[in-house]
């Protein structure tokens, strides 16, 4: 029996597949020969029994938050809802093979070398912001060296998209000849681990996710979403539960994309 592995699958599908595997482990598959080592099928079975069930400890991954200068009138600054980051970290640890560390890390654009220790950085806030020239320069350098920046609009008073717009505008300063463009729904980032046909939307304005693409390879260097995925990670009670789950899945996809591209 060969298990065909899709590049990503939805949770119900995975649940169903798990049931099948559990049934096999319970004895239904006892009449069939044991799967060969080195195959995906073997790995799936091993992951339910014995040592294969343990998560493989691998290279460390941090989920740092970017500290940046927000405007005074903005009520929630760059450090809004760290519990959202923590919950996503836990989900990533639970759902994937990524050795993500729970340790919270904050980086800022004043200290480029420190920031470059972390090739993935997350930023969020509610309102408009302007990057000083030095930060623009450092961000350009960070992204050109291979860093990845994910930005999410925390949505001011549940309606605005000021942060989203400001991010797109500021990125135009970072790469004047390479503006951000909408990320199409069939982009790999929506299906690399979980199959999502669109960007989840929690609240605010449902603008298209925008990406900064490498001009040579097409790789995403940075992306911004307007739908407050970060609040979905927190799981606020006023938000749609399914969308909250999808926001977690999208968060996982973004990290997996960063680690595979």
């Amino acid at each position: 029996m060969k298990t065909v592995v899709a590049q990503a699958s939805s949770l119900p599908l995975r649940f169903f597949a798990s049931l099948l595997v559990f049934a096999a482990a319970a004895g239904l598959a006892a009449e069939k020969p044991a799967p060969e080592k080195g195959t995906v099928e073997n790995y799936v079975q091993q992951s339910k029994t014995g040592s294969g069930d343990e998560r493989v400890k691998t290279g460390q991954f941090f989920f740092p938050r970017l500290q940046f200068k927000c405007r005074e009138e903005v009520p929630d600054k760059w450090d809004i809802h760290p519990v959202g980051d923590q919950k996503l970290r836990e989900s990533i640890k639970r759902l994937t093979n990524i050795n993500i560390l729970a340790e919270p890390v904050v980086v800022n654009l004043d200290k480029l070398d420190e920031m470059c220790e972390f090739p993935y950085v997350f930023m969020t806030s509610e309102g408009d912001f302007n990057l000083p020239d030095k930060h623009v320069e450092n961000l350009r350098e960070y992204l050109t060296r291979g860093g990845f920046l994910y930005a999410d609009d925390c949505v001011l008073y549940q309606t605005g998209d000021n942060f989203y717009r400001a991010f797109v505008r500021e990125m135009k300063r970072v790469f004047p000849d390479n503006p951000m463009r909408p990320i199409p729904n069939d982009h790999e980032i929506f299906k690399i681990f979980f199959k999502l046909n669109r960007i989840p939307f929690l609240q605010g304005k449902n603008d298209p996710p925008m990406g900064l693409f490498d001009k040579k390879t097409g790789r995403l260097l940075a992306m911004v979403t307007s739908g407050d995925l970060h609040c979905g990670w927190v799981g606020f009670g006023n938000l749609n539960k399914d969308e909250c789950r999808r926001s977690i899945e999208m968060g996982v996809n973004i990290v997996v994309y960063c680690l595979t591209h």
Binding site: T58, L259, T260
Partner: protein, 759 residues
């Protein structure tokens, strides 16, 4: 009656002396006679009625006598006459007609050849004076020895032979004059022998036959300023846009000024370096590193600008051809988990069109990220057949434990390296090396380090990799052509973070980089090591976070990219194509034999000896030669043929190999130029000429004059009668007396046996 019995009259026997044509050592002759006598006696002893009384001695003696006479006849009895013939003394005069004789180093600006002609027929009158003592025969000596008439020789203005084979010339000369009384051989040459044969040995052989070999040398013994490119070591094939390193060996003679070497691509100067100079050493190596541009067979010209007072410039420049290719190296990465290390390696490869990364990455439970053009490929995990795996040139095992693979898959990896010639690289991680359980697998035998067992935990500390001297010269870590600069540049690199402690490199491994701090037993842990295994190559890079070299250096720094592209190129370099074709030199001289070699493998990458291999060699005019390559018995799957390019120019060589039902094809090229090893050195080789004369029992004159030689000839002529004994031999094998004596002995034996009732 005497003459009838003995073939020649009695006086002939008085004048001559008896001997044997086939000389046999006396003890062997006696042994043969004793065997004949013993055999005859033994035969009589075995008879049922052995002879009695005096007959028991006489009968074996008669039979032995008959046998002895037969043996004597077989050894060829001769009557030897020695005659004196003073008029038949032969003097052979060989004149060097190679291109080095065109060097103008005479006081009056004349060439060596012009001066040799003067010695022969002008003021020296060598030919005329030799003719007073015997018959003079004239030869030209170059790549071959050829007889020449005086008129032909006089008409020759400029020697053009591309080689000087003095040893071969003396050999051919002695063969042409075989049986003749060669009194002397006179060579007029600069002594620049271009082959590895020893002409002094041939001179010794001629002297053993009674001749004398004299040398008249032309040219400066020492002192001419000269620069020469002795050798160029460069890769025959280079990837486009890769850093190519070329080593140029330069000989400087009597040049004290700084020497620079220039590299041209077509007419464009692309690199210039000063040739290192060590006082007392006349050979030195200059290294030229450059980025290979263009595509296909590309000619580069290496040139040494003329030194002050240098006269011979033909040896200051050489062409070298490098096949600049733009191939895609397909690499299989098996990654145990998503981590930055993979992402950055992939980005490096994605930036570089020479690489194609196929990935099997374990994302989570039952989740794989696979990246391949063919969607069905790798769906079922790691390849399970040699054919599937053979598609790749290198495999990278990145933080993946050994239990992921079946024993059969591990065996496939071993064959992939040893037989297919693929590359295998294991990266550091918490599931690599000992921590991944590889110490008890066949993979451990492939790696350049000993996996000593469990208990060596992954170290998470930061460290700056310490490049070894060996690493500083190695192509993997090469950032500059200079080893010291290389080390300095690597010392500036940001620290890595995390490594697997590996303390024991295998004896055949090259340790390119180490951890800076000694481990518990004082040894430094190996960070980067490589070795060749079977047909392939393996390496370990025990660090886990090389991406830090990308993130913590300015974006403009391409060290990280170069490290990975050079590493993977090195790994993949040994991988075999099913058909690979090479020529033993990419730039050959016209007419120089070039060996064309094809390596043929079957689809399992095993050598195949039953192929039909044909080369279609096309010159620049569109003419095509067809050449069949045959399997050389001493090496599996290797086919060869010799080709002599008939004229200068570029040749395209398309080789087809029929392997079972598949036709494989491969291309290579050959450039042919008018070249001459004659100018490898231009000073007269006085040592060789002296040695030839010494071994040849003759005299040498290194000033280009004939006086010494003529004086020797005159002195020797006085004793010529002793030297010119002509020996004539007359056969006696068919003299009737021999037959009669044999018949008489055996007839007498028969009569006595009959009378005694024994027959």
């Amino acid at each position: 009656m005497f003459e009838w019995l003995f073939k020649y009259p009695l006086h002939a026997y008085r004048e001559g002396e008896l001997g044997l044509a086939h000389s046999l050592r006396p003890e062997l002759l006696l042994l043969a006679l004793a065997l004949a006598a013993g055999g005859a006696w033994w035969i009589y002893r075995r008879e049922s009625r052995p002879p009695q009384g005096w007959r028991r001695y006489l009968l074996p003696a008669l039979r032995a006598l008959g046998l002895a006479l037969v043996v004597l006849a077989l050894l060829g009895p001769v009557l030897r006459f020695t005659k004196k013939d003073e008029q038949r003394a032969i003097y052979a005069v060989g004149v060097d007609v190679s291109t080095s004789m065109n060097v103008k180093d005479g006081a009056s600006g004349t060439t060596r050849f012009e001066r040799a002609k003067t010695v022969l027929g002008g003021d020296g009158k060598l030919l005329e004076q030799l003719a007073e003592h015997g018959e003079v025969r004239l030869f030209t000596v170059g790549s071959q020895c050829r007889p020449a008439s005086h008129e032909q020789f006089a008409a020759l203005k400029t020697p053009a032979d591309s080689q000087t084979c003095l040893a071969q010339g003396l050999k051919e000369l002695s063969q042409m004059l075989r049986g003749l009384p060669v009194e002397g051989v006179v060579l007029l040459t600069d002594g620049i022998e271009t082959t590895s044969s020893d002409p002094a040995a041939m001179a010794r052989m001629l002297a053993a036959r009674g001749g004398h070999v004299h040398c008249i040398g032309f040219g400066e013994k020492q002192g001419l300023p000269d620069l020469q490119i002795v050798d160029i070591r460069a890769p025959r094939v280079a990837e486009r846009d890769s850093l190519v390193s070329m080593s140029v060996q330069v000989r400087r003679s009597n040049v004290q000024e700084p020497v620079r070497v220039r590299l041209y691509h077509e007419t464009e100067l692309i690199k210039e370096e000063e040739v290192p100079f060590e006082p007392g050493a006349n050979l030195s190596d200059a290294r030229l590193s450059f980025i290979a541009e263009g595509e296909g067979p590309t000619k580069f010209k290496v040139e040494l600008p003329a030194a002050q007072g240098e006269q011979v410039l033909d040896n200051n420049a050489r062409l070298v051809e490098i096949d600049v290719k733009e191939t895609r190296v397909e690499v299989l990465v098996v990654e145990g988990s998503p981590r930055h290390e993979y992402a950055f390696v992939r980005r490096t490869m994605a930036d570089n069109k020479h690489f194609k990364l196929v990935t099997l990455l374990r994302l989570g439970k039952g989740h794989y990220y696979k990246r391949a053009d063919d969607d069905s490929f790798l769906t079922e995990g790691f390849p399970e057949t040699a054919e599937q795996l053979g598609r790749f040139k290198a495999i990278i095992l990145s933080d993946i434990e050994s239990s992921y693979f079946t024993p059969e898959q591990l065996k496939l990896i071993v064959d992939f390296v040893k037989v297919r010639g693929g590359g295998l690289l294991m990266l550091g991680g918490e599931n690599s090396f000992n921590l991944g359980g590889y110490q008890s697998t066949p993979i451990a035998d492939l790696l350049p380090v000993h996996l000593t067992g469990a208990g060596e935990a992954f170290e998470d500390e930061k460290f700056v990799m310490q490049v070894t001297r060996e690493g500083a010269d190695d192509e993997i870590l090469r950032l500059s052509g200079n080893a010291d600069e290389n080390i300095a540049q690597w010392n500036l690199m940001p620290p890595l973070k995390g490594y697997n402690p590996l303390y024991a490199a295998k004896p055949g491994a090259a340790v390119l980089a180490k951890h800076p701090k000694p481990g518990p037993d004082g040894r430094q842990s190996v960070v980067l090591a490589v070795q060749e295994v079977g047909a392939g190559r393996t390496g370990v890079f025990a660090a886990a976070n090389s991406w830090r070299w990308a993130m913590l250096r300015p974006a403009s720094d391409d060290t990280y990219r170069r490290f990975w592209s050079q590493t993977i190129r090195w790994l993949a370099a040994g991988s075999k194509e099913l058909l690979s074709v090479s020529v033993d030199t990419r730039v050959a001289g016209v007419g120089q034999p070039v060996t064309l070699t094809a390596n043929v493998l079957d689809k399992r990458h095993r050598p195949y000896n039953e192929a039909k291999v044909v080369a279609h060699i096309k010159d620049g005019f569109g003419n095509t030669d067809e050449l069949k390559l045959t399997w050389i018995l001493r090496e599996e799957g290797v086919y060869q043929a010799l080709y002599r390019p008939p004229h200068a120019g570029d040749y395209t060589i398309a080789v087809e190999a029929q392997v079972e039902s598949t036709t494989l094809d491969a291309l290579t090229s050959l450039a042919t130029i008018e070249t001459s090893p004659e100018l490898n050195r231009i000073d007269m080789d006085s040592a060789l000429l002296t040695r030839i004369a010494n071994e040849g029992k003759g005299v040498v004159d290194l000033e280009g004059r004939a006086d010494k030689v003529l004086e020797f000839v005159r002195e020797n002529a006085k004793n010529r009668s002793r030297m010119l004994d002509l020996v004539e031999e007359k056969e006696l094998r068919d003299a009737p007396i021999l037959l009669l004596l044999v018949c008489a002995a055996w007839f007498a034996e028969w009569i006595i046996r009959r009378r005694s009732g024994l027959a």
